[in-house]
Symmetry: C2
Subunit: 411 residues, 2 copies
C-alpha cells in the first residue's frame, strides 16, 4: 500500500495508484490566470454506483443543484465527474444552471454517456457566469488526454489557492481506492470550497455506497474546520465501478472497505486543515465524557471555531481559560466542576500535561505548557463528565496571515 504522508504539507503524487476502469486528467483551459490546470475530468469506462454528500448551505451553487438532480435521474449510475476551478458558478441563477447542463452535455458527447450520468462541479469566484468557450475547450481537451495515471494532474486541476495538491490512494484486498481533494484555498471574492472526489474499482451497490460515504464523511470532512464558514459548493463524491470484480458490500470485506475509505477521508481532511489559510498549527481536539457523541462533537467544534482559542494557538499561548469558555458556550449541558483538560505535543495523547482538574487549574508549570504550544502539532483533550459521548475534530490556528489573505481587496 502506498504511503502518503499527511503530517507535513508535502504529498507524494508519485505514489497515487490507478483505479481499474477509471481514467483522469487535469488540463489548462485558461480559467486560471496563472495558466495552471483548471479543468479536471474523471471518467469510468462503465456506469458506476455513485454517492454524494453536498453542502448544507441554503445558498447552493448551480453545479451542486445539478449534481443532486443528476444522481436522482441516473438512478445513481454516474460515469464522469468534470470540475472547473476559478469560478464557483454560485449566485448565477438560471443561466448558471443552463451552463452546468451544457458542460455535462459536452462531457457526455465526448465520452459517450447520458448527460445525466455526468457530475459537474465548480470552485472559485462567485456571482460570475462561466466563460463557456473556455469550458468547452477544456472539456474536449481533457477528454482527449484522459489517462489511467492522470490522477496527479487531476489533483492539480481542482486547486484554487491551495498551496499543494491533496490526493491519496489505498489498496484493499483486490481493489484500489484513489481520492483527490481541495480546500482552504481562496480566490476572491469567494469562500473556501471543500471538494473531494473518490473512486474505487470495488463493487458496492447503492444504497450501501451512500451510507458508506455518509459514515466516512461524518468521521472525517465533517470533523475539520478552518474558520467555521461553510461554502456554497462543498461536495464529496464517491464512484464505485466494480471493475476489480471484488464485491465489498458486506461482512469483513465491507468492514475493510469502510476502514480504508474512512482513513482516506480523514487523511484528505487533515491535508485540508494543514493547508488552511494562514495556518501555522495543526490541532487535534478530543472531547469525551459528554452525554452523547453529538454533544461531544458540538463542544469540540465550538472550541475549534472560537477566534479567541484559535488566536491563542497562533500565539503559542496555552490558554486553557479560553478553551473552557468555548466549551461552556457550546449549548451543551455539563457540570463545570467535572472539567478535566490535558495538552500534549504531536498528534496523539502521549506525554500529556493536565492543566485543569475538576474545573480548577492544576499546579502545572507554565513552561511545560508553553513547550507543548511551541510545537506545530498540538493535542487537546477535554473531559466534561462521565458520559460515553466522544468526538475528535481537527483544526488550525488563526494567524495574521489569515487576515491578510481574507482582508485583501478582490483583485
Amino acid at each position: 500500500m502506498a504511503e502518503i504522508k499527511t503530517t507535513t504539507k508535502t504529498v507524494d503524487l508519485e505514489s497515487l495508484l490507478p483505479v481499474k476502469g477509471f481514467k483522469a486528467i487535469g488540463v489548462s483551459a485558461g480559467l486560471r490566470r496563472s495558466g495552471k490546470p483548471d479543468i479536471t475530468l474523471i471518467v469510468s469506462e462503465t456506469p458506476c454506483a455513485s454517492a454524494g454528500v453536498f453542502t448544507t448551505n441554503r445558498v447552493k451553487a448551480a453545479p451542486v443543484l445539478l449534481c443532486m438532480d443528476h444522481l436522482a435521474k441516473s438512478g445513481d449510475q454516474m460515469q464522469a465527474i468534470v470540475i472547473n476551478a476559478a469560478n464557483a458558478n454560485a449566485c448565477t441563477g438560471e443561466q448558471g444552471l443552463t451552463n452546468s447542463q451544457q458542460t455535462a452535455q459536452w462531457v457526455a458527447e465526448a465520452i459517450g454517456c447520458q448527460p445525466e450520468q455526468v457530475y459537474v462541479m465548480s470552485t472559485g469566484v462567485i456571482g460570475v457566469q462561466l466563460p463557456m468557450d473556455k469550458i468547452e475547450y477544456g472539456v474536449k481537451t481533457a477528454a482527449g488526454e484522459l489517462a489511467e495515471d492522470g490522477w496527479a494532474l487531476a489533483s492539480r486541476g481542482i486547486m484554487t489557492t491551495d498551496t499543494h495538491p491533496k490526493a491519496i490512494s489505498k489498496q484493499g484486498s483486490g481493489y484500489t481506492i484513489t481520492g483527490i481533494a481541495k480546500g482552504s484555498g481562496m480566490i476572491a471574492p469567494n469562500m473556501a470550497t471543500m471538494l473531494a472526489f473518490i473512486t474505487t474499482d470495488a463493487a458496492l451497490p447503492q444504497p450501501i455506497l451512500q451510507q458508506a460515504l455518509r459514515d466516512a464523511n461524518n468521521q472525517s470532512f465533517n470533523r475539520i474546520c478552518v474558520d467555521g464558514d461553510t461554502s456554497t459548493n462543498d461536495t464529496v463524491l464517491l464512484m464505485a465501478n466494480g471493475a476489480s470484480g471484488v464485491d465489498v458490500s458486506e461482512g469483513e470485506a465491507y468492514d475493510e472497505f469502510m476502514a480504508l475509505l474512512t482513513d482516506m477521508c480523514i487523511e484528505l481532511g487533515q491535508m485540508i486543515v494543514r493547508d488552511g489559510e494562514g495556518a501555522t498549527k495543526f490541532i487535534t481536539i478530543e472531547v469525551n465524557g459528554a452525554s452523547d457523541d453529538a454533544s461531544a462533537h458540538q463542544i469540540a467544534n465550538t472550541i475549534a471555531v472560537s477566534p479567541l482559542v484559535k488566536t491563542a494557538f497562533y500565539g503559542g499561548d496555552a490558554n486553557w481559560g479560553r478553551i473552557a469558555m468555548a466549551a461552556g458556550r457550546a449549548g451543551v449541558e455539563f457540570d463545570q466542576t467535572q472539567m478535566n483538560l490535558w495538552f500534549a505535543a504531536g498528534k496523539s495523547f502521549e506525554d500529556s500535561l493536565q492543566v485543569l482538574a475538576n474545573g480548577m487549574p492544576t499546579d502545572y508549570q507554565e513552561d511545560d505548557a508553553a513547550a507543548i504550544f511551541a510545537e506545530e502539532d498540538i493535542y487537546v483533550k477535554l473531559n466534561v463528565g462521565n458520559g460515553s459521548g466522544q468526538a475528535t475534530v481537527w483544526t488550525c490556528d488563526f494567524s495574521h496571515e489569515y487576515v491578510t489573505i481574507n482582508g485583501d481587496y478582490r483583485t
Copy 2:
C-alpha cells in the same frame, strides 16, 4: 436630557446624571498593575427592586453563581453592587465562591445591609484566586468615598483593557436612569467580559422589572458581537429604588421607561462594539423577510460572526458573496433566488446600493460599493423573502490588530 455621543469612541462623562438615592465610586486597590481604579461600588440608600440577566455559558464564574443565588434569597431586594477588575474569579472552585461571599459580607458591613442584598461581580484573569487583602481594602475605601456624582469613576473602575469608559444617562418624566458598561477589552488569560450596571430612581416592582430588563437586553446586548465568544462572567444588572416617587410600572409611563431603557442598552452595546478588540469598522446588519424574528436574528448573527465576512469588512472589500454564504449556513430555511442585498454608508439605510437582486448580482459599479466600504460605519441590509421576521445586529470587523491582541502570549 444629556446627550452622549455613541457614534465615536469618546463618551462625555461630564454629562452623567446622578440617580436619586444612589451613590457610586471607583477606587484603586492595586488589582490593576497600572494603578487605575479597579474596585467599583454602587449603593442604594434603600433596598431596590432588582433584575439581572446572566451569561448562558455553562462555565459560570463564582460571582455569577453568587448573584443568581443572592437575587433569589433577597426576594429581588438588592442594595449594592461591588465589582472588581483584573480577576474574573472563574474556574476557582469552592474557594472562589467563598471569596465572593466574603466580598459581599464586607460590603454589607460597610453600608449596613444583608450580604444577600449585595451583587458581586468580577472581570479579568480566570483561574486565579482573588487577592482578598486588596479586595477588603478596596471595598472599605470605596464605601468611604461613595458619592452621588461618582458615576464617572465607577465607569472607570470596571474597565479592563477597554480603551475608554462606557456610560450614559437618560432623563425620563420625573426620574433618571444611569448605566455603565464595559466590554471587548481583554486582560490575558481571559476572554472579553461584557458587564452593564443600570440604576434608576423610578419605581418598578418585580417581576415587571425583570421582564423589562430581559426585553431591553434582547434588543441590545444580545444583538452585539465582537467575535462570537461568550464570556463566563457576562452580566447585566438593573436596580430600581423608586426614590423619585415616579411609578413607571404600567401604561404610557412604562412605555416611556422601556424606550429609554432599551435606547440606553443599545447605546451602551454599540459603545462596546466600537471599542471591540482591534475594531476599525462599525457595521449594522439588518435582515428582514425571514419567517420569524428568531430566524432573522440567526441569519444576521451568522453573518456578524463569520470570519470571512469580518475580514472582508476590514479589507474594505464589498464582498457580497461571503455575506450570502454566511446567510446560507445559518441553519434557517430560505429561497436563495429571493435574496436581495443592499449596502449603505453610515448607521442607516440611506443612499443604499443594491448589489444582489433575486439571488444574482445587479449591474452595480464596484467603485460605488468600494466607496461605501471605505467608510467607518457601514449598513448592510439583507432581504431573504416575504416573511415578517426582522432583526438588526451590530458588529465590528476582524483586523490584524485583533490577532495581535489575542495572539499575544499572556504576560
